[in-house]
């Protein structure tokens, strides 16, 4: 937890510096009032730097509780988020129906749902969503290689 906190504080300071660099070429405010587009972000950055300092103090004083980044805890979240990335990447190629079927079936079987159950749920959910989005709400979804 301590280590995570230090990393977090460091990231925040980096973010602040990044914003400051990006804001340095912003135009001046109205008649030199200093209230240009950069005014508000810079106020926030200053506040954040103060808070980051406070957070650092807090971190030094706190007892070290561990947060686990071990493989067994982050394995499932990591798999799930990657599967969404893959789903997105294949969305227009495979089309909504095929992509959703593959996504649901693959991630359910990975989460140890029996394959027959996973197949039935995948087909049912895909069909229901297709009906809702295409037929009821008339929202165009990618047709992909199936053409539907």
């Amino acid at each position: 937890m301590k280590k995570y906190n230090f990393i977090l504080t460091g990231l925040i300071v980096l973010l602040c510096i990044f914003v400051l660099i990006l804001s340095k070429d912003f135009p001046e405010g109205f008649r030199g009032s200093g209230l240009g587009p950069g005014f508000f972000p810079i106020v926030i950055v200053v506040i954040m730097l103060i808070l980051a300092g406070l957070n650092l103090l807090e971190t030094f004083r706190m007892k070290d509780k561990s947060i686990s980044f071990s493989w067994s805890t982050i394995r499932l979240p990591l798999f799930l988020i990657s599967s969404v990335v893959v789903y997105t990447a294949l969305f227009s190629v495979l089309g909504f129906i095929l992509d959703s079927l593959v996504f649901l079936f693959a991630s359910m079987t990975f989460l140890k749902v029996k394959w027959l159950k996973a197949l039935i749920v995948a087909v049912a959910v895909t069909l229901v969503l297709y009906l809702i989005f295409r037929t009821v709400l008339r929202i165009p979804l990618p047709r992909g290689i199936l053409g539907v």
Binding site: G29, P41, F133
Partner: protein, 499 residues
């Protein structure tokens, strides 16, 4: 010329038709089920359903979302009674007495009392909302830049204070939200900021993909970390409809819990969970059978359940009158209003009295709907609680992705969804509250516009913020909130020295 009663009657013809009522029932049913499923929250229910409302009429979409909101906050209590874990965070306190009641074979009684308490609490809150919101909107019409700045700042500081974990982290999270809000064209000069030559960012970050990422996707990832084992639930439920005698016993608790819920709900960013905690605390002091609390006393179910549902109407007050969300769900509802070209705030009451009136009526009907569903269908809902996470998580994720895409057929939004899903997950892991980030993102433009307007009008003189009474009060409150942890520590130290 609009008359006083228009705010209550104008919506009637729009609400009472087949389609809108159908959507309401659908929203409440889905809300109760998602609320009852452990790990899936009422917030998630509303976040996932918002993109579905894109092609609907304003009335149908609010029927669906308000139904899911009220139903979701109620639904958590069923799981609290049957499985000791809250279905949605605001039902946390209900488990303390609800679960022992279930163990005694009184699960049905506990669910029945929770249902009726939620209904009465919700209904009282709608009545208070519909009486006070128009009056507050009237006052808010006279607000100028200073007041808006002060009220928004207060909202932001209180969410940082209330969020679990360290207040400094809450404030940092809020600041990140404020920074993210500055992406896009500067509201006053039109100068594009932090857009990295990406046209998609010119209008700023789209709100809904961020919200669905943080309240949908990130929650799924966090749940996936825990063991995906099945939950043991009490099988024997019994009679649900409470008797007159049982109701008479808990009525004082309901009537204490409801106003607490409304008031806590109306404080920007303090939602149903806190309302329930405080209501339970009050019960411990004032209830007639206070010694039984914790061992399965019906009062311990009635008070927090009436309070958390009463917070719904309370949370709608600042959302509708000022555009400042009362909790995470009303933050999403702001996004839903914006989809339909409606900006929440005092002008909503002047320009769209029909919508305001419809919202009042729909909220009252939502409460009525979950009363029916709870009393008649709680047994059916209890069967769904055991749906394995292995099925639920992929389905919710698919809904997040397709819903986000459906908002404006944009792959860029899907990227935003994934990034904020990850950010939300990392926040959860580091015990950094994510709600302040969302509030910062919503309040950012309001804060910035009004701060700069104040400074331009007063030629850089900040004292103008303190010479106007309403803004002065809220700024003093903000300072008090910010320093309260330090003050409390000091008081403790002094007390410690004395003894």
């Amino acid at each position: 010329m609009t008359s006083f009663f228009d705010l209550y009657t104008l919506g009637i013809p729009y609400v009472f038709n087949f389609q809108v009522i159908g959507m309401l029932l659908l929203g409440v049913t889905a809300g109760v089920i998602i609320g009852a499923l452990p790990g899936l929250t009422a917030t998630m229910a509303v976040a996932v359903m918002t993109p579905l409302t894109f092609g609907m009429s304003t009335y149908s979409s609010f029927a669906l979302l308000l139904g899911a909101y009220c139903g979701g906050v109620y639904g958590g209590s069923i799981t609290a009674v049957l499985a000791k874990m809250p279905g949605t965070p605001s039902a946390m306190m209900t488990a303390i007495d609800g679960y022992p009641m279930g163990q005694r074979g009184e699960a049905g009684k506990a669910i029945g009392i929770a249902t009726v308490s939620s209904f009465i609490g919700g209904l009282i809150s709608v009545i208070i909302l519909s009486i006070f919101a128009p009056a507050i909107a009237e006052v808010a019409l006279k607000f100028s830049a200073q007041e808006y700045f002060a009220v928004s700042l207060f909202g932001l500081s209180i969410i940082a204070y209330i969020s679990p974990g360290s207040m400094v982290k809450g404030l940092l999270s809020g600041c990140i939200g404020l920074l993210l809000a500055t992406i896009g064209c500067d509201p006053l000069s039109g100068y594009p900021r932090y857009i990295f030559n990406n046209v998609n960012l010119l209008g700023g970050l789209e709100m809904l993909p961020v919200l669905i990422g943080i309240f949908g996707l990130a929650e799924v990832l966090t749940v996936a970390e825990q063991k995906l084992s099945e939950i043991k639930t009490t099988k024997q439920i019994g009679r649900i409809l409470p008797t007159w005698k049982e109701l008479k016993r808990v009525m004082p608790s309901i009537l204490r819990g409801s106003p607490i819920g409304v008031v806590i709900g109306a404080i920007p960013a303090a939602g149903g969970t806190i309302a329930a905690i405080i209501a339970y605390g009050i019960e411990k002091r004032f209830a007639k059978h206070k010694d039984e609390l914790g061992t399965g006393a019906p009062e311990g179910v009635a008070a927090p359940e009436s309070a958390n549902n009463a917070s719904t109407g309370g949370a709608m007050i600042p959302m509708m009158t000022l555009g400042i969300p009362g909790d995470a769900i009303t933050a999403i509802l702001i996004g839903a209003l914006l989809i339909h070209g409606l900006e929440p705030g005092p002008l909503l009451f002047k320009n769209h009295p029909d919508v305001v009136s419809a919202i009042f009526i729909l909220m009252a009907l939502s409460n009525l709907a979950f009363l029916g569903i709870g009393l008649l269908g709680a047994k059916a809902v209890s069967k769904v609680i055991n749906t394995p996470m292995g099925i639920l998580l992929p389905v919710i994720m698919l809904l997040c992705a397709v819903g986000t895409y459906a908002i404006r057929n944009s792959f860029f939004d899907l990227g935003v969804l994934i990034i904020f899903g990850l950010i939300g997950y990392l926040f959860n892991k580091g015990k950094v509250p994510a709600a302040p980030l969302v509030l910062g993102l919503i309040l950012g433009p309001i804060l910035e516009r009004n701060l700069r307007r104040t400074l331009v009008l007063s030629k850089g003189d900040l004292t103008t913020l303190f010479t106007r009474p309403i803004s002065a009060v809220f700024l003093v409150l903000t300072v008090l909130v910010m320093f309260s942890p330090f003050l409390l520590q000091k008081i403790k130290d002094i007390k410690g020295k004395k003894s």
